[in-house]
């Protein structure tokens, strides 16, 4: 079995010390990272802390809590700063030649959908005492971006002293016997100047590489599907996929069938629902469009006008939407924070008969991982009454940064869409 740990870089501080230790250009093909730090600083005390920042980001988006003991008791606390997470070190009045020892563990550091969790266990020393100084720290870097660099600085001192050593390890998710097997069953769907490649994933794989033929245009990703851009419309392409882990790279998969990107018919109708109940669900939304548009047309069967609402990835554990709406004939604004996105309003059964409402929802770049999903909706209805609306809503689906392939369109209050209502999902390449 291959060792799932791989030492990526070691820094040892020379004479004169150094203000910081940095690991940059961290490879993204491991699951977790570990940093082992043996350290001592010039802080005039028995202790110091390791201040850890990611991606040079010191913008107050860290949290950490600590449980610590000194041999005589234990205590817990919240980190004094939100600008970094911390680990154990010792200051320059600790026993001579004593160094603090810390292990910092960062899970899923290369993910693009989640904030990063950082834990640390470590030990320092109290000068002239047999009791030691121990830390267990849980931290959170509240940024969904992959961690590509890490900097360690003393929290109180200004220098790491000579012989301080830090080693960065990449950790693979399991013990691996060798390079992964080739992905299977690749298929391609052409779009405008691009193609979406789907395949059956291999075990023990860090990332996949898709290569076009002709052109040898490549794209990488950690999961299927992978979007290949930069293709030429009108050219027929096939694609192969390889899987890579720290041990090596698989052989190429079989080639996909040939597909030809095209920028004609860039606006396609994906699906239409004619609802007669409360909710319309669109599932398996293709990912190869650039933008989506939803057209909601009709009225509801119960009482007053109702806001249309949208949930993205409705069965996800994360449901969070912000919307700002503005409606006439009284100008009013509202800021909503809810589990669904509030959109403009369509006609209710108490409004004039045979009148329908229209709401158009534009969702750009819905298939880009790592970004919050934004929407702009506008519409309403007019029957000349005070109850009618012309409205607009800007929505950010804030907490989910992954792909979304499912959508529910509903009405406030669980009201039903009336006969003749129609909801159409469009994709724009």
């Amino acid at each position: 079995m291959a060792n799932p740990y791989k030492a990526l870089s070691t820094v040892t501080v020379g004479s004169g010390g150094t203000a910081s230790i940095s690991f940059t250009n961290i490879p993204q093909n491991y699951t977790d990272l570990v940093i082992r730090v043996s350290s001592r600083t010039n802080h005039t005390n028995t202790f110091d802390y390791i201040k850890l920042t990611c991606n040079s980001d010191a913008s107050g988006i860290y949290n950490s809590k600590v449980l610590y003991g000194n041999g005589g008791g234990t205590a817990a606390g919240t980190a004094a700063s939100t600008d970094w997470t911390f680990g154990a070190s010792v200051g320059n009045t600790a026993t001579a030649d004593v160094f603090g020892n810390a292990e910092i563990y960062i899970t899923n550091y290369s993910a693009i959908d989640n904030p990063k969790v950082i834990t640390q266990t470590g030990v320092g020393e109290l000068n002239g005492s047999t009791i030691s100084f121990q830390f267990a720290t849980g931290g959170n870097y509240r940024n969904i971006a992959p961690i590509t660099s890490i900097t360690l600085t003393p929290a109180f001192g200004s220098l790491w002293l000579q012989h301080t050593t830090a080693t960065l390890y990449g950790v693979f998710k399991s013990e691996i016997a060798g390079a992964p097997s080739a992905p299977t069953s690749p298929s391609a769907q052409a779009s405008a100047k691009s193609a979406l490649i789907s395949f059956t994933e291999s075990s023990n794989t860090a990332f996949y590489t898709v290569t076009s033929n002709p052109g040898s245009i490549t794209a990488t990703g950690t999961n299927s599907p992978i979007l290949v851009t930069g293709l030429t419309d009108g050219t027929a392409y096939t694609f192969t996929v390889t899987a890579t882990n720290p041990i090596g790279t698989s052989s190429e998969s079989t080639a996909t069938s040939s597909v030809t990107p095209s920028s004609t018919n860039v606006y396609e109708s994906i699906a239409t629902a004619t609802p007669s109940n409360a909710t319309v669900t669109f599932s398996n939304i293709p990912l190869y469009y650039t933008h989506l548009r939803v057209v909601i047309y009709g009225r509801n069967t119960n009482g007053n006008a109702r806001e249309a609402r949208i949930k993205l990835n409705y069965n996800s554990s994360v449901q969070d939407g912000y919307s700002t709406t503005l409606s006439a004939n009284n100008v009013s604004t509202a800021i909503n924070h809810n589990t669904t996105a509030a959109l403009p309003t369509i006609t209710g059964n108490s409004n004039t008969a045979n009148q329908a409402g229209i709401v158009i929802v534009d969702i750009p770049n819905y298939s880009i991982r790592g970004q919050a999903k934004s929407m702009l909706a506008y519409g309403g209805f007019s029957d000349g009454s005070n109850g009618a609306f012309a409205g607009m809503a800007a929505v950010t689906y804030n907490t989910y940064r992954g792909l979304f392939t499912e959508m529910q369109v509903e009405l406030t209050g669980g009201d039903f869409y009336g006969s003749g209502s129609r909801i159409t999902l469009y994709g724009m390449k």
């Binding site: 018919n265 007019s382 000349g384 159409t424």
Partner: protein, 180 residues
């Protein structure tokens, strides 16, 4: 299966000042979208008010329309209003002839289910025009209109209010959209 859905039905760029533009071959699509870049012959170098652009269906000039809007304009801030029993649907203020040369307003009108005969005909318009010198007569808005008729729409007429015309180089593009 996704369906190719967006077709250009007709486009026209005016070669001379024209009182109105009518589209009468609307095809058999699900929805329509009309994109207008407009400038009107009104000359008002005192107040610089825009000239409303109007929409009518099937040649109906009776008081069979309602519309409402909210709009942010430089001279009045945020305004909203509703009007019933109108002879046309207003789809926002259009650029007028006292504005800088070749300055146009933009109107994007969406008309869902225009062939449906169960519901009256609703439409929604995004409109906007801006001018950088600080003149306060420009703005943005959302306008929702209704034609109180369940008949299928067979023609669309666009015209400036108060008898003015569209100027040369105003453009009108009508698209047909097919739902899967």
């Amino acid at each position: 299966m996704p369906t190719a859905t967006y077709d250009n039905i007709a486009s026209t760029t005016l070669g001379s000042n024209t009182a109105s533009v009518t589209f009468s071959s609307l095809g058999s699509f699900t929805d329509l979208q009309l994109v207008i870049r407009a400038r009107c012959t009104l000359t008002d170098a005192v107040n610089f008010y825009p000239n409303d652009v109007l929409l009518r269906f099937n040649g109906d000039s009776g008081n069979n329309y309602s519309y409402q809007y909210y709009s942010a304009v430089g001279w009045a801030g945020l305004v909203a209003n509703r009007l019933d029993n109108q002879s046309a649907i207003t789809i926002g203020g259009g650029a007028q002839n006292s504005y800088a040369a070749q300055e146009f307003s933009y109107h994007d009108i969406y008309i869902p289910s225009y062939r449906n005969t169960s519901y009256q005909k609703v439409n929604v318009t995004k409109v906007g025009h801006a001018y950088h010198t600080g003149d306060a007569r420009r703005g943005v808005g959302i306008w929702v209109g209704n034609w109180k008729n369940t008949a299928a729409i067979t023609s669309i007429t666009v015209l400036p209010s108060n008898g003015y015309s569209f100027t040369t180089n105003s453009t009108f593009c009508l698209y047909g959209i097919t739902a899967a």
